[in-house]
Symmetry: none
Subunit: 120 residues, 2 copies
DNA sequence: GCACGTTCAACGTGTTCA
DNA sequence: TGAACACGTTGAACGTGC
């Protein structure tokens, strides 16, 4: 039987293997990272061609504009609809604290990671 | 068909479906967990904006400060009178940064990413 | 049975490296 | 550019006490 694991696990943007829901869309790691970087840096990106470039696994690098377009078309969005842009979702202190923790912290990191099948 | 609309089963904080009374207010699971975590960890949380952020089901994650504010406004509180199970909560609330900084340790590269059984 | 605390997978974000 | 890692919050499921 064709199990459910390979069927609905395709990236909504390029068709690559999706790793989960990122920014409200089922996407791969590549499109997740691309969207995160691009949507802030180049919101007004325009396609030098017809604006209908193919966005497949192999072609996705060729036209960032159309890729971003398809990301948005797939429903990807930063969750900042009504509020102005939050620099960080939590305490708005992305700088010193994170840096400090990163440099000086040794976390035990004892995640049990038991098999717990939850439906979400 | 159950008349769900007549039942006032909405979270007093975010309007999501409430699961019962938690900390003296009718709230959802999310706000219950949020309040329990936050009221101990970051009692001095402040909103980086005007302090009047929307706290709805969709927006509740964006501003913990305003969410906590609304939790308190809804009447949520830790009842330490009869449930003083905690030996000593160790507050001192010097700010969220110190909470991380006082860990003061060294980074350790552990492969925390175990095989996670994604079942979705 | 309800309320509380705990657990942990899912997810967002920053960083690093090839 | 993208895979992997690090670290945090979130919230549903779960166990427990009253």
């Amino acid at each position: 039987m064709v199990s459910e694991e390979d069927e609905p696990k395709n990236c909504a943007v390029c068709g690559d293997r999706a790793t989960g829901y990122h920014f409200h869309a089922l996407t791969c790691e590549g499109c997740k990272g691309f969207f995160r970087r691009t949507v802030n840096k180049y919101p007004g990106l325009t396609c030098p061609f017809a604006g209908s470039c193919e966005v497949s696994r192999a072609q996705r690098r060729h036209c960032p504009a159309c890729r971003l377009q398809k990301c948005l078309a797939a429903g990807m969005r930063k969750d900042t609809s009504s509020l102005s842009v939050h620099p960080s979702p939590v305490f708005a202190h992305p700088g010193p604290c994170a840096a400090f923790a990163h440099t000086h912290c040794r976390h035990q990191h004892l995640h049990g990671a038991a098999n717990r099948q939850v439906h979400q």
